[in-house]
């Protein structure tokens, strides 16, 4: 519910800003948003069903044992490594995360997983980063990022302690 309100509010405010600048700008943006929506909605449906079936096939206790709330630092490390090897865009990665959470993965472990996936995204590295910035820069960035997913996971543990007690 909160997400719907925030997203609706932002879309409304930006629409007003764009409308004041030029109605054409708003029309252009709405058309491109519609295009992207039509393009992504069926993929999203397929990805969610796929992730759901896989979630049913993977035994819940396996997810809980390796990356559950109680798996602690080990779980954070495992999630960091696995997340770094997810070779897909957000369409599949986020439904997978939803299924992982539903099958008993812990929040800090999931944060480490998403951080690793978003920092190391292999397809982006090959398609954009290496061709545009060169391999030397790409490797320097990846080496500099290796410690980040576990740090994000540990910080989530700290935040949850502070927030939920």
């Amino acid at each position: 519910m909160a997400a719907l309100v925030i997203l609706g509010g932002l879309a409304f405010i930006l629409s007003i800003v764009a409308l004041r600048r030029s109605p054409l700008l708003l029309a252009d943006a709405l058309r491109s948003a519609l295009h992207r929506f039509i393009e992504l909605a069926p993929r999203m449906a397929v990805a969610m069903l796929l992730a759901g079936f896989v979630g049913k096939l993977i035994p819940g206790e396996l997810v809980g044992r390796f990356i559950g709330e109680k798996s602690g630092l080990w779980g954070i490390m495992i999630a960091s490594i696995v997340g770094g090897f997810v070779p897909s865009g957000p369409i599949l990665a986020f439904p997978v995360v939803v299924v992982l959470l539903a099958s008993g993965a812990g929040l800090p472990q999931v944060v480490a997983f998403i951080t690793a996936w978003s920092l190391l995204a292999f397809h982006r590295l090959i398609m954009y980063e290496a061709p545009i910035m060169g391999w030397r820069f790409a490797w320097q960035r990846i080496v500099s990022s290796l410690v980040l997913p576990p740090i994000a996971g540990v910080l989530t543990v700290v935040l949850m302690k502070a927030y939920y007690g």
């Binding site: 997203l7 629409s15 992207r36 992504l40 909605a41 069903l49 954009y128 545009i132 980040l148």
Partner: protein, 192 residues
């Protein structure tokens, strides 16, 4: 992944490309295989249980995604690439890293937007640590990914916890990159 938002010339919907794209076909094939495996190994009830709850999640996410795409499309048109590059300029040191982090958060669009920006920043003399901070920030804190994917799918509370836990990351990445040996002729970049 196609990003039609960055391509203002293409609005007619190509239905063939929509459904016959390779990643879509692979995902659909995997979905059917997963469905069959689920039915056979876990039973009919597990299959329908998964099917119905996933469709419910999908319908719940759909309006949020639509709003997020409108926000993203507007942001891409209101935040100009030149503005982002000029803002960062050739600043370096802690201040450069802090500004790079802030700019990374507000950079809309996918890799088609961010990597040309990084390339232009490198040409403008932005240091390696600031470039790495920028990319780390865009990847872990970028508002567009949070709005378009995390808010609809994971909820606001989870998104906020993850975002707050990620605020130090660009600074840590920049610090790590400063420990790496210096480039022979900085800033190193590829031609073309």
């Amino acid at each position: 992944m196609v990003e039609p938002g960055n391509d203002p010339g293409r609005y007619s919907i190509d239905w063939r490309a929509l459904f016959l794209d390779r990643s879509m076909l692979v995902m659909t094939a995997l979905m059917f295989a997963g469905g069959v495996a689920c039915w056979m190994l876990r039973g009919r009830d597990a299959f329908f249980d998964s099917f119905v709850s996933d469709l419910q999640t999908f319908l719940d996410v759909l309006p949020k995604m639509a709003l997020a795409f409108v926000t993203a499309a507007l942001a891409q048109r209101l935040v100009k690439r030149e503005f982002i590059v000029r803002w960062l300029g050739d600043r370096s040191g802690f201040k450069g890293v802090a500004i790079a982090t802030g700019v990374g958060i507000i950079t809309p669009g996918g890799p088609m937007m961010s990597f040309p920006i990084v390339s232009a920043m490198a040409n403008a003399g932005t240091g390696r640590a600031a470039l790495i901070a920028y990319l780390t920030s865009w990847e872990t804190l970028g508002f567009q990914r949070i709005l378009a994917w995390e808010f609809p799918l994971m909820g606001v509370e989870y998104s906020m916890i993850r975002a707050i836990a990620s605020i130090p990351l660009p600074f840590i990445a920049a610090w790590c990159s400063m420990q790496l040996p210096a480039d022979p002729s900085p800033p190193e970049k590829a031609d073309g």
